[in-house]
């Protein structure tokens, strides 16, 4: 079933569909409102109309998201959610809300930026409550029991993902790179009632298989085009872990076990891996990446950048330096999304793999 077919079916089941721009948001709250968050990272579209609103130096994540709206491909959605991720998505949200005259609600979610202090936690907690109040205006009252259930379900989901990531990191997970990320990325739009069984099946099928071979880590925003993963498969290289914003960087490490679901969600946010879009200190990012390298015996890190992504590009020189100091090879690639796998890119990856093999 395609993503669109799945979302149409969800709608028929009476669920609200909320298009969500990158990257961090409390998805459990949307689930509790019987809504399905459909994340918008790299819709397969040609950029045309978005160029009338956004300059050439704006990243293709923002442009493709806007293109989706302008081409009417998001008409199936009941609303849009813009987390505060970067300057480009911030202003894009304002263009959509203030200027495009959409006849569907737009929601905004501002999360506090590091360095974290007590005020940040208090603020995040209140932001969750405000977000609920805003949603209640359109979707009716929130069922507190349902929220609690969805928070627990989120923890269960995270536990499966952690197990899958751990096995893969240790080389005990046999799925190809392409298959691995095809499944993991379905979490960008599947309802947890469907995603959890899918992951459990995936875990059962792939656990303990032969996943050895040269290992690399991907750092960046997202692996697009997916052919890059196939290329690594063909070259016999396993992506042992990732520091990708759309995948590993949103993996909940230590779930909040508080009774109150809002407090648990707050604890969850602050327990996620460090991220530049949350202004995590560079030391934390570097250490997180070095730990991943150590755990998976990785020989190389590919920094897979989306062109013009300022938050990510500022961190790269320090991360590259730290990785090199640790004796691990690095490759920096920057791409526009949906541009396919060029001959030049293939050659660079091949040369890199040759170096680490």
């Amino acid at each position: 079933m395609t993503r669109r077919e799945y979302l149409s079916k969800q709608k028929e089941m009476g669920r609200n569909l909320i298009g969500v721009f990158p990257a961090y948001y409390p998805k459990e709250i949307l689930w509790a409102f019987n809504a399905v968050p459909a994340e918008i990272w790299d819709p397969p579209l040609e950029i045309a109309g978005a160029n009338a609103h956004l300059q050439p130096y704006i990243c293709s994540v923002a442009k493709l998201g806007l293109e989706l709206i302008l081409q009417g491909k998001g008409d199936i959605l009941d609303g849009l959610l813009f987390p505060h991720t970067c300057d480009s998505i911030q202003n894009l949200a304002s263009i959509v809300y203030d200027y495009l005259g959409l006849n569907k609600p737009c929601y905004f979610f501002y999360h506090p930026k590091a360095p974290y202090r007590n005020s940040s936690r208090t603020y995040y907690l209140e932001q969750l409550r405000s977000f609920v109040s805003r949603l209640e205006k359109d979707m009716g009252p929130l069922d507190g029991g349902e929220l609690k259930h969805r928070v627990e379900q989120g923890h269960h989901l995270a536990a499966i993902l952690r197990e899958i990531y751990d096995l893969r990191s240790q080389g005990d997970f046999s799925a190809s790179n392409a298959e691995f990320y095809r499944v993991i990325r379905q979490g960008e739009y599947l309802h947890p009632d469907d995603f959890i069984p899918l992951l459990e099946g995936f875990l059962g099928r792939s656990k303990g298989g032969d996943g050895k071979g040269s290992a690399v880590i991907l750092s960046g925003i997202l692996a697009n085009p997916p052919e890059i993963l196939g290329l690594l498969d063909d070259l016999g290289v396993r992506v042992a872990n990732d520091d990708l914003l759309n995948c590993g960087r949103r993996l909940l490490m230590e779930p909040g076990r508080m009774e109150d679901p809002f407090e648990a969600l707050t604890a969850n946010y602050f327990a996620m891996p460090p991220c530049t879009t949350k202004d995590s200190p560079l030391d934390e990012r570097v250490n997180d990446l070095l730990k991943k390298i150590e755990k998976s015996s990785t020989k190389g890190v590919i920094f897979y950048m989306v062109k013009f992504c300022e938050p990510e590009l500022f961190d790269v020189p320090q991360m590259v330096a730290a990785v090199k100091t640790a004796g691990v090879a690095t490759l920096i690639i920057d791409v526009d999304l949906n541009q396919g796998l060029s001959g030049q890119l293939t050659t660079r990856v091949e040369a890199f793999v040759e170096m680490i093999s």
Partner: protein, 437 residues
């Protein structure tokens, strides 16, 4: 802090700096620049401004070890730092200075050689390039003890200052101002006030000084009065002909950015305001034949300020207002010593770049009407995404609603490698023609 360095700093402040600057002034050959027939007499205050900023950068060379030093972003609530006697350096102001002296690409290249992508903000690349090479046109910048930023102007400053904090191993204080997608909320205000409260013990520790509330309130009042006066300076350009141009304002805003909360900034703007009022009384315009009045959107193109100033004056066009220069005046009425931290939260979080684009559209409409603007020049600055994203829509909407013609110039604030003279000239010629229709 070192006693020897303190003695040296105080000596330079009281005796050295005045003496050195006096010698420099006396020794400088007076080069008479041929007057440009398109302009009125130059502002007398320009010399005083040069003295103030030269002294500021000159003294900064001796500040390290004598006073706590902070590197600060242009939109950060510096009033909180002043009671602790921090010597404040504004890397953005330094970047503008480097840009105006056409040093942008040279310093950016240093950062690029160290892996910083050419697509990153050029203020940041200049600053990192300076940090890595020590190159600067001001002699030397003091090493900071603390970094103080607010993301009310962009998220970039946080990424940039994190790099510095990582390299220098010093504290980084971020004043996180939630972006106003709709309206500012009480939750936002509470959060910002709490952050300011949490910063005080850190500032006490770094500076070795206790927080003095009375002194803080005095500084708030000084900052408020300086911003008010800066607002009055800008408002003189409502007069026809305007007594100054926005290109003058780009230069004269240095004290309100870098010296806000210090008596010298207020004194300077009072003197400037007096001069401008005198010019108004005498009917002196900044340009001799002000036929059209324009608005500028975005940060200046620092390496083109003089060229653009001449070019537009030749066409009898004067820039009389800008969203950029207005930023240091527009929210100051919120400053209130009865609610110091809360009012600072409002003052700093309601600025144009921390507000949604509808707010910006409203502000531009107001400025266009109040300043009787005939046309708009939009600088699409590669370095500044929060200022630039949305400009295409603003251009269209202002044309639809007010019939104001506009032109977009693709450039960068300091890195002239991202600027095409030919393309810009072509666009401007078309704009000039359109303005005459």
């Amino acid at each position: 802090m070192s006693l020897t360095k303190s003695i040296r700093y105080n000596f330079m402040k009281d005796i050295g700096a005045p003496a050195v600057m006096g010698f420099a002034k006396a020794g400088k050959k007076k080069r008479r620049r041929k007057p440009n027939p398109n302009f009125g007499p130059p502002l007398k205050c320009a010399n005083r401004l040069k003295e103030i900023m030269t002294r500021h950068y000159f003294l900064s060379r001796y500040a390290e070890g004598a006073r706590p030093v902070a590197w600060v972003t242009s939109g950060a609530p510096v009033e909180l730092l002043r009671p602790f006697d921090f010597y404040t350096i504004y890397p953005e102001n330094h970047g503008a200075l480097c840009g105006a002296q056409r040093l942008g690409p040279e310093l950016c290249s240093v950062a690029e050689e160290h892996g910083y992508n050419q697509d990153l903000c050029s203020y940041a690349r200049i600053d990192i390039g300076h940090f890595l090479s020590g190159k600067t046109p001001v002699g030397k910048l003091p090493r900071p003890d603390i970094l103080f930023a607010s993301n009310n102007i962009c998220q970039t400053v946080a990424y940039w200052y994190k790099v510095l904090a990582h390299q220098l191993k010093i504290p980084f204080l971020l004043f996180d101002t939630p972006y106003n997608f709709e309206e500012i909320t009480e939750n936002d205000i509470t959060y910002m006030v709490s952050q300011l409260e949490e910063m005080i013990p850190i500032l006490e520790e770094v500076s070795g000084k206790r927080f003095n509330n009375q002194r803080f309130e005095q500084i708030m009042l000084l900052a408020r009065d300086s911003s008010f006066t800066w607002g009055e300076v800008l408002a003189t350009m409502k007069t026809e002909p305007a007594p100054m141009t926005i290109f003058d304002a780009f230069i004269h805003l240095a004290p309100i950015v870098s010296l806000r909360g210090l008596p010298v900034a207020l004194d300077y703007y009072q003197t400037l305001l007096d001069e401008l009022r005198e010019r108004i009384d005498r009917g002196i315009g900044a340009i001799k034949n002000e036929r059209k009045r324009l608005m500028w959107d975005n940060i200046a193109i620092w390496y083109k300020v003089r060229d653009f100033s001449n070019l537009f004056a030749e066409h009898g066009m004067n820039f009389v207002t800008a969203t950029y220069t207005n930023a240091w005046a527009e929210t100051i009425s919120n400053m209130d010593t009865d609610k110091p931290l809360e009012s600072m939260a409002r003052t700093y979080s309601l600025v144009v770049l921390n507000n949604n684009l509808n707010h910006r559209l409203g502000l531009m409409e107001r400025l266009i009407k109040e300043y009787k603007v005939d046309g708009l020049v939009i600088h699409s600055a590669k370095s500044c995404k929060p200022y630039s994203v949305g400009q295409y829509d603003l251009k269209r909407l202002l044309m639809d609603r007010l019939g104001v013609p506009s032109v977009v110039i693709d450039a960068d604030i300091t890195d002239f490698r991202a600027y095409s003279e030919e393309q810009t000239r072509t666009r401007l010629e078309a704009f000039f023609e359109g303005m005459e229709d």
